[in-house]
């Protein structure tokens, strides 16, 4: 899972254009949306697009979204779970 977490950190920075951040600045266990990285609701929608585009994984509703975006680690495990299903 750690390689996926590192990849995700790089992709999040790239997709959300977080030019002031480096991958190591992102804590894998800290909340993604809100205070920590300063991400907002539009960013979370953009991350949903990233999941579909890069991993073929969909986020069916807002409730799932909240759990998925709890941290980079939860995002990684959601991808691993749903990829293996397919």
């Amino acid at each position: 899972m750690e390689p996926l977490i590192d990849t995700l950190k790089r992709q999040i920075i790239e997709v959300l254009k977080l030019s002031d951040l480096k991958p190591e600045d992102i804590d894998a266990d800290a909340p993604l949306i809100g205070a920590g990285l300063g991400l907002d609701s539009i960013d979370s929608l953009e991350l949903i697009v990233l999941l579909e585009k890069e991993y073929g994984v969909t986020v069916p509703d807002a409730n799932t979204g909240r759990q998925v975006f709890a941290s980079v680690r939860s995002l990684a495990s959601y991808i691993e779970e749903n990829r293996s299903k397919g």
Binding site: D40, S41, I42, L45, V49, A62
Partner: protein, 371 residues
């Protein structure tokens, strides 16, 4: 009101094109409680939408041609007339055609300025100034405010406003990506509301500055503000819209008690309607006038929609009635705002029109019928 002998910004003529048809058809159907919202898909997106009654109007040139007879532009003087084009995206078809099939723009470019000059030519308006206002979904209301300020300050003697925003793949996919669209249709202020419905819309209006006669509808005041809160979402407090409304009332020199009804922005997103109810409550306290939204009937036509809805509001003002708010059944906001489920008598001859848009932009216009 006592303005009969004072110079005022008079709404001389106006016309609209909506999913319910012309201004006359739209207002008649609104009072019947009709809705033109149809189920999806819309440009491949599984959402309800409100297409023009005549879909050929979705072309800017056809719409301008259809609207041209709605105003008498024959006496306009080039040196003292301003043409104000109000749109969020306008007719974005040249952009789509280029990306979808490599077709190069012919009649006009996707740029709003190019659209404005193209439409102005078709309308055959003699106007020395062309101003393109793009304040998101408040464009039409901001256009009216700019027009009013130009007339009052003497920078123009006549102002022609054109609003146009069509449903497109661009707009449908975008609002869908933002999860803002209702699957089944907009239900403004209703407890089951689940998003907005995009609609086509166009409107044309002529404003002049003169002594009004009894029966004239005047733009008595206008005001605007920014929430400074979020790029796309409304503020949670309604403070920004409240300040815009307060500024419009101050501009009109009217206290809230003199407002007979409110044409709400009423998009039917969870947060817009909740915010708007707070703003309306801050303004009126418990003394609410009748409030309504037309977006459950004709959808949300972005920047043009706010001008279109001002034209509809003027027509309702002449009838001294607030129309029913199609899609509304059970109040779903925290404050007891009297959203009209059936026609309600306006308590005075003035109406407050509220608009809001992306970027935290709020705009309010006060219309009064001269007694």
């Amino acid at each position: 009101m006592t303005a009969a002998l004072r110079t005022a910004v008079v709404l001389e003529d106006c016309g609209i094109l909506s999913s319910l048809g012309t201004l006359e058809e739209t207002v008649a159907d609104l009072f019947e409680g009709a809705s033109a919202i149809v189920p999806g898909p819309c440009f491949g997106v599984p959402v309800a939408h409100a297409p023009f009654k005549d879909v050929s109007w979705r072309s800017l040139g056809v719409a301008a041609e259809a609207l041209a007879p709605c105003i008498d532009a024959s006496d306009l003087d080039k040196d003292t007339t301003a043409f104000i084009f109000c749109a969020a995206k306008g007719d974005i078809s040249p952009l789509e055609a280029y990306y979808e099939s490599g077709i190069r723009p012919e009649a006009f470019m996707p740029l709003l300025s190019s659209q404005a000059h193209y439409a102005k030519k078709i309308l055959n308006i003699a106007a020395g100034r062309t101003i393109v206002v793009s304040d998101a979904c408040a464009s039409g209301a901001t256009g009216v405010e700019i027009g009013r300020d130009m007339l009052v300050s003497g920078r123009a003697r006549s102002v022609v406003l054109l609003g146009f925003d069509g449903i497109s793949r661009f707009v449908a996919t975008g609002f869908h990506a933002l999860s803002a669209l209702s699957p089944a249709g907009a239900r403004p202020f209703d407890s089951s509301r689940d998003g907005l419905t995009i609609g086509d819309g166009a409107a044309l209006a002529l404003l002049t500055y003169r002594e009004p006669f009894a029966g004239d509808v005047v733009v008595a005041g206008a005001g605007s503000s920014n929430d400074a809160n979020h790029r796309t979402g409304p503020s949670r407090t309604g403070d920004g819209l409240f300040r815009a409304a307060k500024a419009a009332l101050a501009d009109a020199a009217l206290p809230p008690g003199d407002i007979g009804g409110v044409k709400c922005h009423g998009t039917a997103t969870k947060y817009n309607d909740a915010m708007e109810a707070k703003a309306i409550t801050s303004l009126f306290g418990e003394e609410y006038p009748p409030c309504f939204s037309v977006k459950g009937a004709i959808g949300h036509a972005s920047g043009a929609g706010s001008l279109l809805e001002i034209c509809v509001a003027a027509e309702c003002l002449r009838r001294r009635l607030a129309p029913p708010s199609a899609g509304f059944e059970t109040l779903g906001v925290d404050e007891p705002v009297p959203i009209s489920a059936k026609p309600q008598i306006l308590r005075t001859s003035s109406m407050l029109c509220l608009s809001a848009g992306f970027g935290g932009i709020n705009a309010a216009v006060v219309l009064s019928e001269v007694q």
